[in-house]
């Protein structure tokens, strides 16, 4: 590997990405938290009867794990299918990446097996999800109409990162625990050591480089959504009760629900 590439990708880019990520997230948080009003209203809760933080938390859990509001999309199921596949897949993949830097009390053989089969399967699920989302954006006229470069950049980048990652995991199968893992640990310990990655191949370099670009980009575009909704007053600001008598439970109230127009 060219020494220049090595220094750029494995020494400079990690710290640039880390600084951009942390700095960008702090910038976002400050800009959101310094906006103190909510258009003159006490509560702008969007879900009815969110009285108290228990309900707020439950709603957030349902959003994160079930994407439950998308159940209401009547004509187009591809968004919910693509989103669920991608987010579950990529979450498992990200957790699996922790295995590179956190020592696990399992044998190297099991570690390798988990990386190959669990990590590989999760990567394939994430790949299917991102492909569904990208194809949906390209094929549906209304999605094309509202999409510009900004809407294709992040999914395109993710597609490339996942593809290179899968090629490594399933095809090339480099010895990442003796190369990437010690390098990543050294970077995170702020004593970077480039020796272990001296011989890594193209797919590893491409995967790492694009992932670092993505990390740097996250706070500055739409990919900040994972952080933003946690501060959205429509979800996190509970409403308040009015009236002294709660509505009594009445079995059968509303004899019809959920039916759609023919």
């Amino acid at each position: 590997m060219d020494a220049l590439v090595q220094v750029a990708v494995f020494l400079v880019l990690p710290y640039v990405a880390l600084a951009a990520f942390v700095g960008g997230c702090i910038y976002r948080l400050v800009s959101w938290l310094s906006a103190r009003r909510v258009t003159g209203l006490r509560s702008v809760a969007i879900v009815p009867n969110t009285f108290g933080y228990g309900r707020v938390l439950w709603d957030l859990v349902k959003r994160v794990f079930a994407f439950y509001t998308l159940r209401n999309m009547e004509g187009d199921r591809t968004l919910v299918v693509g989103s669920v596949l991608f987010h579950y897949g990529i979450s498992i993949v990200l957790l699996a990446h922790l295995g590179l830097v956190v020592p696990l009390p399992i044998s190297p053989g099991l570690h390798d097996w988990l990386g190959l089969y669990v990590g590989g399967a999760a990567g394939l699920v994430a790949l299917a999800g991102i492909l569904i989302l990208i194809v949906r954006r390209i094929r549906l006229p209304r999605m094309r109409e509202l999409s510009t470069l900004g809407e294709y950049f992040a999914p395109g980048l993710l597609l490339a990162i996942i593809t290179f990652g899968l090629v490594q995991t399933l095809v090339v199968r480099p010895d990442y625990m003796d190369t990437v893992a010690p390098w990543l640990t050294s970077v995170l310990e702020f004593s970077p050591n480039l020796a272990p990655i001296a011989g890594v191949g193209f797919f590893t370099i491409a995967h790492v480089a694009l992932a670092l670009v993505f990390i740097a980009y996250v706070p500055y575009g739409q990919m900040v959504h994972w952080l933003g909704y946690l501060f959205n007053p429509t979800l996190t600001g509970p409403s308040f009760r009015v009236g002294t008598t709660p509505v009594p439970a009445f079995p059968g109230v509303g004899s019809h629900s959920g039916r759609r127009p023919t």
Binding site: R28, S31, W32, S34, A35, R36, V38, T39, G40, L41, R42, S43, V44, I46, V47, P48, N49, F51, R63, T69, N72, M73, D76, L79, S83, L140, R142, E145, L146, T148, L149, G150, E151, Q222, V224, H225, G228, Y229, F231, N232, P233, T234, L235, R241, V242, G243, T244, T245, V247, P248, G252, V253, G254, S255, H256, S257, G258, R259, R260, P261
Partner: protein
């Protein structure tokens, strides 16, 4: 009046409201003075938008976090019925985003690749047109995975447009009338009194009840209906009066603020606060302990989310009349006979500001169960309800093509479940149905009717054979 332009699916740019003239703006300035103008409309509007965005967290996050997934396109009544991407939650917000992005380095560099377009006067007109096509119904916020509510972005953008002289003539007129007279219709005290007395006589004739009421006198409670209930929805008004009487609650009407509606809500917060503060002043003046809201969706939102917290600071509580009716039903202090509402197939359609902004979802259903024998929910019910198509100032005559397009959604819903009588306990819904339902009935050969909920309570109320002792309902 010129004939409203016909809508073409895919392009609703022709559907703009009439704008307020300088004389009307000058009158509005008396209540809420506008900030000084620099002479360049686009610069002023852009500056105003930046200030609104940086001050309001719900607006800031709605603009920052959207991933353009398109879920809101599937939910938004304005996009579904017009097919114009600018007349959609994400499309409307993109008009704002592109103006803000044009000021960034990236926007200047990449231009239309990242949807960056400097705001000019034509752009301001485009903003105004499309932001006055939004119903502020919050259906986008309901379906959005991140809860991004573009309706409150609409309120913010309209606030800035109003600051710089762009406010629809209809909304401006209603706000000015409300601020000048205490109600949206400009009904003078004598007319209000006369209507109340007319309803008293009707109740006597129909129910054999001599209802007690006060007007502009100190009482335990102050009833604040929307002014349309003194004009168009007299059955609803009779429902309030008969209920209060039979529940034994000491209450007064006010002619100084005979209006639950608060059109200020539709254009940000300044006029909303001005109108809301007047209501608080009147409640204090009449020394009431409870303010009771009548049937009005957006009025309830403004009351609950702005007025009630301030009333409570003054030792005054406030509820919706549905809360009192439920209280009376559970304490058995009123008698209801659902058979009196016949076997009609009633279909309940939630007003958006009850279901998505006011926490009134189970309450009306509980009452419906006690006053009808045959009620069903609309296919899109609760937080998925369709706006009537008249919300946020859309009731202007010149916007009728849009109103009719939007209204097709709830009409189809009502037909899908074989509804005969639509229940929408909201003054704007009723006004919209009053104007649009006859047209749909004629076109479809149907005979659907509509009403509020207190109308049905009125019909179902049974006067006790002997006078009931005053009960402590709501006290």
């Amino acid at each position: 009046m010129t004939e409203p332009a016909k809508l073409v699916f895919g392009n609703s740019s022709s559907a703009a409201p009439y704008w307020s003239k300088p004389e009307l703006l000058a009158k509005l300035d008396k209540a809420v003075p506008r900030p000084p103008a620099s002479g360049d409309l686009a610069t002023d509007v852009l500056r105003g938008i930046r200030e609104e965005v940086s001050a309001n967290r719900n607006v800031k996050i709605a603009l920052d976090v959207c991933v353009h997934c398109g879920a809101c396109l599937d939910a938004c009544p304005t996009y579904l019925t017009t097919g114009d991407i600018h007349n959609s939650p994400v499309g409307r917000a993109d008009l704002v985003r592109s103006a803000l992005r044009a000021q960034t380095l990236l926007g200047k560099w990449l231009g239309s690749w990242v949807r960056a377009k400097p705001l000019d006067e034509a752009g301001v007109r485009q903003l105004a047109t499309y932001y006055y096509q939004c119903l502020e119904c919050r259906r986008c916020g309901e379906i959005c995975p991140f809860g991004l509510d573009q309706a409150d972005v609409t309120r913010s953008v309209r606030s800035v447009l109003c600051d710089h002289g762009l406010i629809s003539k209809y909304v401006g007129t209603v706000i000015e009338t409300s601020e000048r007279t205490g109600n949206n219709l400009g009904l003078p005290p004598a007319a209000l009194r006369s209507t109340i007395e007319f309803c008293r006589d009707e109740i006597q004739e129909e129910k054999r009840i001599d209802v007690r009421f006060k007007i502009d006198e100190p009482a335990h409670a102050m009833l604040v209906p929307p002014s349309a209930d003194f004009f168009l929805n007299l059955e609803t008004l009779k429902g309030y009066m008969a209920f209060f009487h039979l529940a034994g609650l000491d209450y007064t009407f006010t002619t100084e603020h005979a209006e639950l509606g608060n059109f200020g809500l539709f254009i940000g917060e300044k006029h909303m606060k001005h109108i809301g503060d007047h209501l608080i002043d009147v409640a204090r003046k009449l020394d009431v302990r409870l303010v009771v809201a009548g049937e009005c969706g957006h009025g309830w939102r403004a009351l609950k989310q702005y007025v009630i917290p301030r009333l409570r600071e003054n030792g005054i509580d406030s509820v919706h009349i549905f809360h009192l009716v439920i209280d009376a039903i559970t304490k058995r202090s009123i008698q209801l006979d659902p058979a009196l509402n016949g076997t009609t197939r009633y279909v309940y359609q939630d007003p958006c500001n009850y279901a998505r902004a006011g926490d009134l979802v189970d309450e009306p259903r509980f009452i419906l169960r006690h006053v009808t024998k045959n009620y069903i929910d609309s296919p899109h019910s609760r937080e998925r309800t369709w706006c009537c198509g008249g919300g946020a100032g859309m009731l202007a005559d010149e916007l009728m093509p849009l109103r009719l397009a939007y209204a097709g959604l709830w009409f189809e819903d009502a037909r899908a479940v074989g509804g005969e009588h639509i229940i929408r306990p909201c003054a704007i819904c009723k006004a919209q149905l009053n104007a649009t339902l006859p047209r749909f009935n004629k076109a479809a050969g149907t005979q659907l009717v509509y009403s509020g909920l207190m109308d049905l309570v009125y019909k179902a109320l049974v006067a006790p054979s002997s006078p009931a002792p005053p009960s402590p309902v709501g006290q």
